[in-house]
Assembly symmetry: C2
């Protein structure tokens, strides 16, 4: 089943201890869509400027990603520059030029309306809600947010959280959203705000999914997927979006939606995040095979599997 | 098979968001011994002062821990005071009074000499090495260290690491020891210093065991055990020592020593650490049952187990 990915397309300038790249194709929607494309049909909703060429679009089309929802606006594409020189776990932003992204009003093409899965990338919570309300027929909505919206648009975010089935955020965002220093307590508070499940991304330590009591099955036990200890992290940019793409893409590819599927999805999320960081930008995500993905899934599984 | 635990016995004064306790029995040797006592016979080597009473000793004896290696010295027992008011993951030390611990020279009683397992708690690396060299017959030595020794006694620590089979430290210690910001690369460097296996404790994210190529079996794939997300952490003191006690105690209880045993040991380490933090001081570790331990082991297993 196809999934709609609403998010950003950007040109990133990134410096890490392994090197530097300038104006490479990035953005949350790009990482998400590429990662999800190995599991299911992906339809992108985003905005780009006049500097977004057919070569850039070809990167998505090669992965069979539907680009009809990409709006071509006058002006320049969103640009971001950052570095990870001291700490691979946290980017220091050098510049953010929103450009055409500043006035982004996501529009769902009619051809997308039969999609059953929706992922609301990290955009203004009011826009996320508008998209969700337009899509009557979706059976599962995933969403992301960030500290900026938690602080600046809490009221709208609170409304949006009621429309999201699975929220995917990192530990720091969960603590800020809940106003709570303990992760499991923060998770409980966030679930009380609306989502049936909450995926907390722990970076190199993996991710945990917390369930609302009774959601997607019996009980409320969390589930944790590890991350592979990777010696050579070239560029952490997009790891979280690639995680979300693997997670949501796998879910959308399954006939059923139950806890076992969500657990496997958590592992596939970790797998896609681990591939993303091996090369600069989206390079590694452009040329994977499902066999490579499944063989890493097995390694992740064995990483915590007791006989 | 019995295990010798060389470490500290202390009286701790601890403040956390859940409350405060004064001068409760603690110290790395105490946490380790109590945790390990649910798996195997434990023999303690430590030093205490005149303020260490028979009631304190009874806490250990009730768990069938051999206390003949506890030296009673003139003066006061090691005292430590700390708080975790802002951050449950890191203690702010209020005071450290080494007292009799300052001149601690671990002496192994003759009755202990047939032990096959040894754990060298966090004491001066020169003392650790001396104990290890005295114990000809041990088949496995575990060890701990800390930033203080890494900075102040690196030369002696380097020699000691050659005598330790399994080193158990936390992420920050590994990075400092290796002079390396990437955990997997730090792990590889530490293993090159001597140990056959390295257990990195990630706090609330669990722990990973890294193997030297070929040690304890084939290959060099790491293994990761999660930690249970615990809503109510009352007092994090001793979590790492309790982890080590569960890990080493389980190993000492097994007939064989292979990777599968080490993996299970990693889970049991996490289990004992998770119990330790549920109450102040060693309270929870004093009154567990093996049934409670094994039922939490199953929860931990299910936490990452895919069908």
């Amino acid at each position: 089943m196809s999934i709609i990915a609403v998010g950003s397309i950007a040109f990133d300038t990134i410096a890490t201890p392994s090197g530097r790249v300038d104006n490479v194709l990035g953005g949350s929607g790009t990482y998400f869509a590429l990662a999800a494309s190995y599991f299911t049909d992906v339809r992108v909703v985003a905005v780009v400027g006049e500097d977004f060429t057919s070569q850039h679009e070809a990167v998505l089309k090669k992965r069979n990603i539907d680009t009809r929802g990409i709006e071509h606006a006058k002006g320049k594409t969103f640009r971001w520059g950052g570095q990870y020189l001291d700490n691979l776990n946290e980017a220091k932003t050098d510049f953010t030029e929103l450009n055409v992204f500043e006035r982004f009003q996501p529009r769902i093409p009619p051809e997308y309306m039969d999609s059953k899965f929706l992922f609301l990338g990290n955009i203004h919570p009011g826009l996320q809600a508008a998209v969700r309300l337009e899509m009557d027929g979706v059976s599962l909505t995933g969403g992301d947010t960030m500290n900026y919206w938690i602080q600046s648009s809490r009221q709208e975010l609170t409304e949006t959280l009621k429309l999201i089935n699975v929220l995917l955020i990192n530990d720091g965002e969960a603590k800020m959203l809940a106003g709570e220093g303990s992760l499991p307590r923060a998770a409980r508070k966030v679930l009380a705000m609306g989502p049936q499940a909450l995926v907390l991304k722990h970076g190199e330590y993996g991710a945990t999914i917390f369930f609302r009591e009774g959601a997607f099955g019996i009980g409320a036990h969390p589930f944790r997927a590890p991350a592979l200890p990777i010696e050579e992290v070239k560029d952490p940019t997009g790891a979280g979006d690639s995680f979300a793409g693997g997670f949501m893409g796998y879910i959308a590819s399954q006939e059923q939606l139950n806890r076992e599927v969500l657990k496997r999805a958590l592992f596939y999320g970790g797998v896609m995040g681990s591939f993303a960081v091996e090369r600069f930008g989206t390079e590694r995500l452009q040329s994977l095979t499902r066999q490579e993905i499944d063989s890493r899934f097995q390694i992740f599984r064995e990483l915590t599997h007791l006989e």
